[in-house]
Symmetry: C2
Subunit: 348 residues, 2 copies
Amino acid sequence: MPYVMVQIPNSAAPAAPQPRSVPTSADVARLAGVSRATVSYVLNNTSAVRISEPTRRRVHEAAEELGYVPHAAARSLRAGHSRMVLMPAPNVPIGPLYSQFINELQWALSRLDYTVVQYASVGLRGDEAARAWAELRPAAVLVPVGGLGPQGVAVLKRSGARAVVTLGSERIEGAHSLLIDHEGVGRVAGAHLYARGRRRIGVVVPEEPGLKVFSKPRLDGVRGALEGTDATVTVLPLAYEEESAARLAARWPELGLDAVFGFNDEYAMLLMRALQDEGVTVPDDTALVGADDLILGRLLRPRLSTVHIELPAGRDLAELVDRAVRNPGATPETHHVLGATLVHRDSS
Amino acid sequence: MPYVMVQIPNSAAPAAPQPRSVPTSADVARLAGVSRATVSYVLNNTSAVRISEPTRRRVHEAAEELGYVPHAAARSLRAGHSRMVLMPAPNVPIGPLYSQFINELQWALSRLDYTVVQYASVGLRGDEAARAWAELRPAAVLVPVGGLGPQGVAVLKRSGARAVVTLGSERIEGAHSLLIDHEGVGRVAGAHLYARGRRRIGVVVPEEPGLKVFSKPRLDGVRGALEGTDATVTVLPLAYEEESAARLAARWPELGLDAVFGFNDEYAMLLMRALQDEGVTVPDDTALVGADDLILGRLLRPRLSTVHIELPAGRDLAELVDRAVRNPGATPETHHVLGATLVHRDSS
DNA sequence: GCGCTTTACTGAAACGCTTCAGAAAGATCG
DNA sequence: CGATCTTTCTGAAGCGTTTCAGTAAAGCGC
C-alpha cells in the first residue's frame, strides 16, 4: 500500500449555492441598462469609441457586482486569433537550470502580452501531438526538445499557428530554430579532458529514454573534439540508480578509462561516488567532468568540474517569438545559442 | 554579455505559402458534398445518429485532404463546458519528486479524457490570477500550493469551474483540499532527532520566498513534535548558496546545536558540507536530517538521513477531480495525505 | 396505393464575444 | 431653420462548432 488518502469529514457543509449560470456580457449589459456592444467597448477600453464617464461607471459596477469574467474561447473565436503561446511540457524532469529558463521566458512573454500555456500531451507522439496542440489555435508553439517533425510543423501552420519555434539541437524544416549547442557541451568537456592529458575517455549515456535528445549530441560533441587525436571514446550506459552506478564502477579495471564525461552533474555525482566506493581515486585514476554547473556539484569532494551552460535569455527568445508572430510569412530564422564553458574544479 | 545568439543564414528559403485561411468544418462539408452537421456527426462518431459508410468515407477523406483540425474554442463555446484541467505552474522549481508526481497526474487525467494545461500567471497575485484562470473556463482547477484564497475559489466557481482542488498544507473554503502533511514531515524529523537523544535542535528555513508554504508547516511540525519536552528549537534562515551556508556554519559554536532538520535534502546537503568544512562532524557533533529522499543524499558521506515523502498517487487525485467534476454540487472533500516516513542513514 | 417506421441526412439555432455600420440626439454653423 | 458635425450609443452579423427538430426517400405490411 504505497500511500493513504484519508477523508476527513467536513465540519460545516456549506449549502450548495443554486447553480446560477455563469454571467455573460449580456447580463452585464442588462444590469447596466446598456447594449452588449457598449459593455465590450468599456471593458476593453476600446480607444476608437468614446463612451461617457457615467456609462463607463455603470458598466464597471455591473460587471463587478455580477463577478463577470470574459470567456476566452468566445473572444478568440471572434477575434480569429489568440495570444496564446503553447509550450509542450517536457515529460522528463529537466532540472533547475531548464525550469528557471522556462520561468524567465514566461515572464518575458507575458510582458509582451502573450499567455503562456504548458500543454502536456503525454501519450501522443509526433503528428498526433501536433494535432492536439493545433486544436487550441495558439499564436505560437514553442517546442523544447525533439518530438516534432516537419509534418507536425506543417499541421500547426496550416491550423493558423503564426510561429513555430523549436528549441533543441536539430533544425526542423519550416520552423524557427533555436539550436542549443549540446554538441558544444560535449566538445568542451572532451577538449578539456584531452588537454589534461587524458586519452581513454568514457562518456556516460543515460539509459532513461527521454534524455537521448541531450545525450546523443553531447556524445557526438566529445567524439568530435577527439577526432583525429589518439584518444578513444567509450560509451557508458548508466541508469540513474545507485546499483547501476555500482555495476559500472565494478567493471572499471577492465574498462581502463582515465577520464569520464558524466553527461551532467547528477549522473557524474552518482558515478563519482560509485567509483570512490570501488577504490578508484578521482581525479588521479580517473578524471570526471559533469555538466549544468549545479550547486550540489561543488559540495562533493573532490569538487566536480563541470560544463556551465548558458541558456538564451528568456527576453530574447520572447522577442523572437513576437517577431515571428508579427511577420509569419518570413523565412524561418535559425539561431545558434552558444554557451558551453568549462568550469574547472578538482575532479579533473 | 551573458549569452550570445548568433543568427545563421538559412540555406534554402522556402517560398512562403500563400496564407490560405485555415480550413473549417464547412470546408470539409463542401468538399465532401454534405452538410456541416454530417461532418460533425462523422468526425465525432456520434452514436445517436447513423451515417452511411460511403458518406463517412467521403467526409474522412475530405478532412484528411484539407488537413482539417477542429477548433477547440468553438467546440467548448458551443458545448458550454470544457474538459480542461488547469494547473497553475509553480514559479518555484520544486524538484524531481514533485515533477514526477505532476507527470503521473497528467497521465492519469488524460486517461479520463481530460486535457491538462499548465498555466503560468507570473506577475499576478491572488484574485487576479484566479480571474485569468477563470477566463479559460476550465472544468477543474488544481492549485498546487498557496496563492489562492477563498475569494479566488469563488471567482472560479462562479465562472463555471466545476471543481477546485487545492494541494497544500491548508484547507481553503469552498475547495476540495488535498492536505499534504508538511507538518508531518517536520514532526517525523523532530521526533527522530529527539529519539536519538538530541535536545538543541535547529530547523533550516529557506530564505527563498516561494518556499515559505513548505517551510512554515515543516517548522511547525518540528515544534509540535518537541512540545512539552526539554528540547529547544532554533530557526536557521538559509539561502541556497554556498556563502550563506558558510556564514551559518561559522556561527555554529555560538549556536550550540546538536541537531538540525535541513528543510529538504538539498538544503541539508548544502549545510552539511559547510559544517564539515568548518570542522563540525556529522553526526557526532551535530545530527542532520533532510527531506525528499533524493538519490543524491545517499552519495554524500555520511549518507544523509531523510524524511521520505509519499505523494498521493496521480491516479487517485485524478479520480477525485473526476468525481468533483461529475458532481459539482457536493460538499468539498478534504483528504489527508499521509506519507512522511523517516529513512535513517548515517547523518543522524 | 396508403399509412407507418426506419434510414440518412440537412437547416438553423445557439454558445459569448467583438466590431462595423448606423442611428438618435444634441451642438454648431451659415 | 435646415444642414452638417459630433457625441454616444445600439443592432446585428459573424467567428466554428454541436445538436435539436425536421424532412425526403426508401422499405414494409396490408
